[in-house]
């Protein structure tokens, strides 16, 4: 959308025109306002399909191949010996940069993505998440959410669209999300 900016005239009529245009624009916004604020705890944005949030882990699929720890660019994944004699990954969220390379590289799909992103920890030590906590579903109070919000473009204007729902999809269905490794397998 290319347009040329011309210098506004300095004559009296041009100035009056400019004032009237400014007031007109203001009044238009007063009566047909296009508010794009999200009331955050009550409304959540509709996260994109491949949102990289908290990482979940399924120990039944894990073969302890250590690929996730190898690929991790931030060195955030450590392996620990579990009671059953196998090594399982633990993620240190103080280091994690949420690149989801580990999810991508996992050959058996034991690492799974989730859309949960608003994390809170009480201490730095707590950010080191052991395997047992990665297996659990992320703890989230979903009762607060009244609407899911997404931005759409209509007639060259950004508009906000609200879907009133109590259900917020945090954990995507397995196999629905296309990962890089799927392409490599092809």
């Amino acid at each position: 959308m290319a347009f040329r900016i011309t210098m506004p005239g300095t004559g009296l009529l041009d100035q009056i025109k400019g004032h009237l245009e400014a007031i007109k624009t203001g009044l238009e916004e007063v009566f047909a306002s296009n508010r794009i604020t999200i009331h955050y705890p009550k409304e959540r944005r509709k996260y994109p399909e491949r949102f990289r949030g908290l990482i979940r882990f399924d120990p039944t699929k894990c073969i302890s191949c250590f690929q996730c720890a190898f690929i991790c660019p931030a060195n955030a994944i450590q392996f620990k010996l579990a009671p059953n004699g196998k090594f399982y990954p633990c993620v240190d969220y103080a280091k994690c940069i949420f690149c989801h390379f580990c999810v991508d590289t996992c050959t058996k799909g034991a690492m799974q993505p989730s859309k949960f992103h608003d994390l809170a920890f009480r201490s730095l030590e707590e950010m080191f998440t052991p395997t047992e906590k990665m297996i659990e579903k992320p703890d989230m109070k979903i009762g607060d959410v009244e609407a899911v919000v997404e931005f759409v473009e209509e007639d060259g204007k950004i508009k906000i669209r609200r879907e009133h729902t109590l259900y917020l999809e945090v954990i995507p269905e397995e196999g629905k999300i296309e990962l890089v490794r799927h392409r490599v397998e092809e």
């Binding site: 007031i23 624009t25 203001g26 916004e29 007063v30 306002s33 296009n34 508010r35 604020t37």
Partner: protein, 362 residues
């Protein structure tokens, strides 16, 4: 007791008559202790000072207009503005909550301040801000009826910038200094055209009594002398530092200018000063140019009807002035001074000539 009864008889002789509320008022006037309070409030001068155009009207205007300004600006800028304090009514109680917060906040007096003056000027500022209310009438309701009402109001309102300059001097800080100098420059740029515009209207009506002025406005003054109306309108925007003339207290540049060092309730007092001035000047505007309390007669409201018309006109004007915050940028000081001295002054002189020419006709 004798004194109370004498006062009560004085009050009841001059009560505001509201036919629709007459049974309730009569019932209240029969109750022993409450009758004195009701009589005081409904006594016409008492009503003028306490209800409208006095304290209650001013209070409502301040609370509503500060909320409205924030809300309207937010709406134009695609935001919501204050909302959380009272969600069902759109955050209307936010100014009240802010006032409470100011009350319990510490008032810091910095080392360089001229301490005594620093504390007393925000309180003294209420003298010029509240005195004009005494002579501004709303129909039959007036505290002091005087034929010199218009010059008195204009003269006392012109004292408010002097208080602001004094505040800037007492604050003794560099931002306050810049803001004070800006206020002084602006004062001369708008005050002369404003007074000339009022003079044009006064010469046109041939009277400085609000009753005569309102009575003569079968056609509103804004149509009779549009130039004076324009000059007065722009001068009010400059006088109360509304956008685009929000130069003395430009909070992004010099952090509220003369008021930069105030905190707590003292900041609350000086911040509302501009809004009080806006209220007074809007009252003056609606009396001089918009026909004051003229409007279609509703018999059941009695003396309350002019009050309602004047209040609606005033608050609508205030809404227009605060609307400019959302559409205009802040112009530079030299642009404002050039505009004030060159265009505004010349238009006001033309409007004065128009006023003198129309003087015999109206």
């Amino acid at each position: 007791m004798n004194l109370l009864n004498t006062l009560f008889s004085i009050f009841t002789k001059n009560l505001v008559s509201i036919p629709i509320l007459k049974p309730i008022i009569n019932k209240l006037l029969g109750i022993p202790v409450i009758k004195y309070i009701v009589a005081l409030i409904l006594w016409k001068p008492g009503f003028a000072i306490l209800i409208f155009p006095g304290l209650l009207g001013l209070m409502i205007c301040l609370l509503v207009i500060i909320w409205f300004e924030r809300k309207l600006t937010a709406k134009v800028q695609w935001r919501y503005g204050p909302l959380e304090v009272s969600r069902p009514i759109g955050g209307l109680l936010q100014p009240l909550a802010d006032g409470m917060r100011y009350f319990f906040q510490e008032v810091i007096i910095h080392r360089d301040a001229h301490k005594a003056y620093f504390i007393q000027f925000p309180i003294l500022s209420f003298i010029p801000a509240l005195l004009p209310i005494l002579v501004i009438p709303a129909g039959a309701i007036v505290a002091i009826r005087t034929p010199y009402a218009v010059p008195f109001v204009v003269a006392v309102i012109a004292l408010i910038p002097v208080i602001i300059l004094a505040i800037g001097w007492a604050t003794n800080s560099r931002f306050a200094y810049i803001g004070t100098v800006r206020e002084a420059f602006m004062y001369f740029a708008y005050e002369i055209p404003l007074i000339i515009a009022v003079l044009a209207m006064v010469l046109m009506y041939g009277s400085t009594d609000f009753y005569d002025i309102v009575q003569k406005q079968t056609i509103p003054g804004a149509i009779l002398n549009p130039l004076a109306c324009l000059v007065f309108f722009i001068a009010v925007a400059m006088a109360t530092s509304r956008f685009p003339f929000e130069i003395p207290e430009a909070d992004q540049e010099i952090a509220f200018g003369p008021f930069v060092e105030y905190s707590g309730i003292m900041f609350g007092l000086v911040m509302t000063l501009a809004y009080e001035k806006l209220y007074l000047l809007c009252l003056l505007f609606s009396l001089l140019f918009l026909g004051g309390w003229n409007g279609p007669t509703i018999p059941c409201l009695g003396d309350l009807m002019p009050v309602i018309y004047l209040f609606i006109k005033t608050i609508a004007l205030m809404c227009i002035f605060v609307f400019f915050r959302s559409v205009y940028p802040r112009i530079r000081l030299d642009q404002a001074l050039k505009f004030g001295w060159k265009h505004l002054l010349s238009i006001s002189v033309v409007s004065l000539a128009l006023g003198i020419a129309l003087g015999g006709v109206v």
